[in-house]
Symmetry: C2
Subunit: 362 residues, 2 copies
């Protein structure tokens, strides 16, 4: 297996050995043991602290997008109007998922590298009167951290259900589920928590559950059976004990470091990354530095390079970064300084290589 | 964490240390590395050998039931007639899932501890003319191994799409996907492969893909995006490299042991388990021993015992077995001798404890 000395992919991030070692433990059956449900309950409590919420938290097995899809089906009804605030692939993905559920969806799309203004949003909310508003906190493919706090009051005023994907921000940037009025919030494991992509979590507000009851979606991926899972000690499918144990350790490490310290570590690594990029004459994708995410930096592929050649040259030097998708494919490359990779020394090694590769070609 | 000296739960089975050690490896990003897709391709080839098929195999991340649900949505259309052959909870579950997809479903239910006869099935197929027939190979909650080979010709004659769950049989009992004409077949990891519940696989016939194209389901859990995943080196969501590496090792160990040897090991452990149970005056749930699964034995809870007390008494002695669900809850207990637990010495230790606990009370 080819491995890279300097892993700076924007997720899955490099998994620290202490988290991988958790998988050595010989656990019993999640379906039958009280110990497992005690662990699940503790993880829920740790996630509430991490995400600053009193809401219910559902912990699912597998990758986060599958759980999000189950949630979309659980709270969106055919004919509902869904407004997807977007400045990238994941934002638009919400609109597509809503259409697939049978909703009428619209994208409120920002200009390249920007985010919608509160005024634009307020206007759109009045015109479209959505039942549901979706947003992405860290739009990973664009490297943007969207100011959810700024738009939250307008969404709240509209009365729409608010669904936010904070998969690539939470733990690396401040997420305030209750303050921002997020009804359904999505967290993944393989980004700032630096775990395997085998577990995910979702916050669900009282209004979220109420909507799920009204929708009464009864698919196998429905969120409703999770509402009383802890109480009745039964999950809709066999859960992953190892993944929960690793999540437990990662959350405890995070809270021991302190949320504010983690945010600071991410912000510093990101600021260093951006400064180095600008110093070597590269152009950031974000229109304003305030929109650049502390977890991932999107940079325009240097002039004169095809992305594939640039990528190959970096990899030859032991550096793995990410490309992008959709409209940004081939135009943007991304440095993931999140979780275990939010480390100035690691980022410095990566930026040194980028500088070397560009200089050698020039 | 409470752990048991003698783990005989019918899945998740005890995970051998060599499989857990795979998780220590530091892998890169599945989304970007060619090495990952080479591993995926090898796993598909190993699964084809294991399941005796030339069909496509899709390997999904997470628990098998979620993938089955995506498959049901992908090949069943509202209004389709779905016949669920059943002698237990999982068999009936297919009918419920089909109803949830909007199909018209009927259960062809066997008497307690029995399986439907070919004559009953043929009659039902003529009357109901189903578009899809579903069956469960090992009905775990009932401890029954259903003779799919016997009913396969009738299903094939009917022209219906054939969906079979072999989660708790494959690798421990012979599964012949091509010979039995299975269009969609489901495999889990936490049963006879003794892996974590973090990966699953599905065989898809040409007719299965054709049906998926006609149905054109475009949910996030749809199976269609997997059709060309290897070719375009892209999976619908971030896959789990560690789980694929563990699957690779487990399949290689299985094929090195030899499928026939594994089936024999399971059959012998099961025969031993049943003989000991009968010798101590217990009653098997299976109406005929030929229907009893080589992977799990369902036994009636001994006279004079509440299941909860029996379970607690066994656990006090270090033995973990399973109860059952639905109509069999409290009436049947189950010994899982599958995968790593298909070991006569381990089963002997378990049966000794059961004998001791029953004798002490008598």
């Amino acid at each position: 297996m080819q491995s890279y000395k300097i892993p700076l992919v924007p997720g899955p991030t490099s998994v620290p050995r202490k988290y991988r070692e958790v998988y050595l433990t010989d656990y019993g059956s999640t379906d039958l043991e009280g110990d497992f449900f005690a662990l699940l309950a503790e993880n829920i409590s740790l996630l509430r602290q991490t995400l600053k919420t009193k809401n219910d938290v559902v912990i699912g097995s597998g990758e986060a997008m599958m759980m999000l899809w189950g949630a979309m089906k659980s709270v969106i009804r055919p004919g509902d109007r869904v407004l997807a605030i977007s400045n990238g692939l994941f934002g638009r993905g919400f609109a597509e998922m809503a259409e697939a559920v049978g909703a009428q969806s619209e994208c409120l799309e920002a200009e390249d590298g920007n985010f919608v203004s509160v005024e634009e949003l307020e206007k759109k909310l009045k015109e479209f009167r959505p039942d549901v508003v979706t947003a992405v906190h860290c739009e990973t493919p664009s490297g943007l951290l969207n100011p959810i706090a700024d738009i939250a009051p307008a969404v709240a005023d509209s009365g729409a259900l608010f669904i936010v994907d904070f998969v690539a921000s939470a733990a690396g940037a401040d997420v305030r589920v209750d303050e921002w009025g997020i009804d359904i919030g999505l967290l993944g494991s393989q980004k700032c928590l630096s775990l395997l992509p085998d577990i995910c979590a979702m916050t669900v507000s009282e209004r979220g559950w109420q909507r799920a009851h009204e929708t009464a979606y009864n698919g196998y991926d429905a969120i409703l059976p999770w509402e009383k899972a802890l109480e009745i000690k039964a999950t809709p499918y066999t859960h992953n004990w190892h993944a929960n144990a690793a999540l437990n350790l990662a959350l405890k490490c995070l809270l021991e470091e302190g949320l504010e310290n983690s945010f600071k570590r991410h912000a510093e690594a990101a600021a260093y990354c951006r400064r180095r990029a600008l110093d070597m004459g590269l152009k950031l994708y974000a229109a304003e530095e305030s929109l650049a995410s502390p977890t991932v930096t999107a940079i325009m592929v240097p002039d004169g390079w095809r992305w594939e050649d640039f990528d190959a040259a970096l990899r030859e030097e032991g550096l793995a970064v990410g490309g992008s998708y959709g409209a940004l494919a081939g135009k943007v490359f991304r440095i993931g300084h999140m979780g275990s990779q939010a480390d100035i020394n690691l980022v410095k090694q990566g930026m040194d290589i980028i500088e070397k590769v560009i200089k050698e070609r020039a």
